[in-house]
Symmetry: C3
Subunit: 312 residues, 3 copies
């Protein structure tokens, strides 16, 4: 994967995903050492180009890069010359001329990382673009499930919430399906995309049916500001119908785990009790995110990238 | 102190403080080398979690961490997902899951670092919380006085200003008292806390009496926006009564030194002349801050912390 | 140059400039290695003190410092205690007390880097101050021209745009003149400073005359918000008279190159076609900026600086 972009799980095949997960497991071992740092990416420059605010994803990439000894340079829209109306592509090309080994892009508009990747020599890693994809989130989710369950093939994964507007849902649908899981989605009708069946996914408007026999229940974050719109239910209504608590979780398998990409709206998507302890594995997801991103950075930037991208 | 939190001077005993000051003196020697860097904290991750703006404290911790070869990751409220209403504790727990070796917290509300420390595995260093404590500031003040005077035991330290709303005053009252100094405070009546006597401190409403025989005069920063309130004197009134200049400094001992935690409002707490040269030691305080914070980071994160915290 | 400030090209002599360019060429070689990093500035601290937003200059200095293994600490006005009305000089002196090896300053007011340099022990590098100077930009422009043309002596350089308000123009006028080039400027009358002849520069109000026989055409960025003023032409008027496209470029020499400090307003200073490909060398300018800034940091901070500054 040296020098290749990582724009979405849709573009990966099963072997790619498995290779990333296996590499991430080796990276986890580094995190358990006395000195949590290896010289693998020494002399490599990683650029965090975030046009949207982010705590966990940006920190996760920054820590991942530093544990591999890369130099990490952060950009946020507010501190950049974007306030001078410089176009996004010009900013990206300018950064590219400084010869980074990877550029990590987050933007609220779907497709921006792809447009940036098209003009850059450096490989681009999508850290979330609109409602399109968030591939490293899905990969860390798959890593978490694999380590909890020992397999993904044959599992049933239920994703609950605003599927239509969720890049996390979309990336996970692709990823878990490619690894042989049955993926179901559930939520209020305006939150289920019409074309969801074309992705090989079963959709439900009943939480109980969606959870029946599920090994994994993934709750998505509700955008509270959006839920006041005419077509969306109120927060109270959402919470009572699709919010998870211990009682509703009984619909799923006895050993089902609960996931959430964070940050959780406590009492909306998950009851506070469920947010904070098993069977929820939310902090494991965060922890695995660092190792997963180390794996991605290593596989993409581990040896000279620019020429490899031309070959790709 | 490996793996322990540093939330306030109140929690330390004299031996703790002396150990930190001695370690800081050894760290000063590193700052004088041709290569001002040692590999002590290589592979350690330090997180700067600042919810309030800060130049000197944040920079001081960042430089201290880097001189020990730690990786330093900065967070400020504006660039984090806190704009998505994520709760402070959730942010902290998320960062904790990325396995940092220390989390440095500043917040305008007293007690927040403690609340964060209660849920974190990583040790927490309080970099200033409301009017509660600012322990590393007090420690660098003690280091500065010790190096100027050769001792702290038996000295007289006068702290001038808005004692009631100052975390710097509170931490210094605890610290200098524990090391055997006599601590006095002075300021306009609304700026003197009612319970100050319970801290073993003498309070004065006259600058002259407070300074009589003082070895150290510490002026606090006045919050100009606060001083316009009904119970507070005007800036002009404050300055003429409690602002220090060479003439008023004659009330103190001939060899008294002048300190200020910065930034100075010139012409308010200190005359411009006094702010810029001896006997004021303001820039020495800043300089000592780097070595002091290197000592704190080394003592707290020098070896694997998380398990030590459980023992604490 | 160890320990000296770099405030403007006006202060440099031809030998200084040539030494910086030669050093930059050696730094370019580092950028082509498998591991783009050398230990030259290990243990040195570089402070980026930017009071104006900046993408390319700040990133360029940060990457340059990290490739030399320096620790780079970033400050921006918004995240610093400047929101507490701390004066700029106090901030700078505070940072100085933390013993940095270089402080890089950008400010919208001309002369601020000089005022800061006057009070600091650490050497100051001007990264752009008002309409005064932007020395590293001019140096990277000279490096780019030298590598394109094999010489600078005897070339004709035409600078087009708002000369009166451009620190890039001013620094380049000094630099190219000192290296023996003929420098011409052209733009609408309100954009040409009255004293331009005193700098040894010929001014033109006709693009055609200015470009006649030019080896290098440098277009400056137009501040769109300024161009609506009474004395300035409209954007449309500017573009039709002084905007460059392939057709107007025929006035210059056949092998003329086109430069721009970025970011380009496409269709204003340059046609989109000209902005994106030869003979424009805009991304080469950016690329050379990293090597040039490595050279400047190395020459200024390569060995202990503070004492050298006192000698200077």
């Amino acid at each position: 994967m040296i020098g290749r972009d990582l724009l979405g799980i849709e573009d990966l095949d099963r072997a790619d995903i498995e290779r990333i997960l296996e590499t991430a497991e080796r990276m986890q071992e580094i995190g358990e050492r006395e000195v949590k740092k290896v010289p693998t990416l020494r002399g490599r420059t990683i650029v965090n180009l975030f046009f949207e605010p982010s705590t966990r994803t940006k920190a996760s990439f920054e820590i991942a890069g530093k544990r591999l000894s890369a130099d990490v340079v952060n950009f946020t829209a507010s501190s950049s010359s974007l306030s001078k109306h410089e176009s996004i592509l010009d900013t990206a090309k300018t950064l590219d001329a400084m010869d980074p080994d990877a550029v990590i892009v987050r933007h609220r508009v779907a497709g921006v990382p792809k447009r940036i990747a098209d003009v850059l020599e450096a490989p681009v890693i999508n850290a979330g673009d609109g409602a399109h994809e968030h591939p490293t989130q899905a990969l860390l989710d798959m890593l978490t499930v694999y380590q909890e369950k020992g397999r993904i093939d044959g599992l049933t994964v239920a994703i609950i919430g605003d599927i239509a507007h969720s890049r996390v849902a979309r990336s996970n649908v692709y990823g878990f399906s490619k690894l042989g899981a049955e993926v179901r989605v559930a939520g209020p009708p305006p939150m289920i995309p019409r074309d969801v069946a074309t992705l090989g996914v079963k959709s439900y408007h009943s939480l109980r049916e969606a959870l029946d026999g599920a090994d994994v229940v993934m709750a998505l974050r509700i955008q509270l500001e959006r839920s006041t719109g005419a077509h969306f239910p109120s927060v109270r209504e959402y919470s009572s119908t699709f919010g998870l608590d211990r009682s509703k979780l009984r619909y799923a398998k006895d050993d089902a785990i609960v996931m959430h990409p964070g940050p959780v709206n406590r009492g909306v998507e998950l009851s506070p009790e469920l947010a904070d302890r098993r069977p929820s594995v939310i902090l494991d997801q965060v922890r695995n995110g660092v190792a997963l991103r180390m794996a991605v950075l290593y596989l993409i930037s581990g040896r000279p990238g620019p020429t490899a991208k031309e070959d790709a």
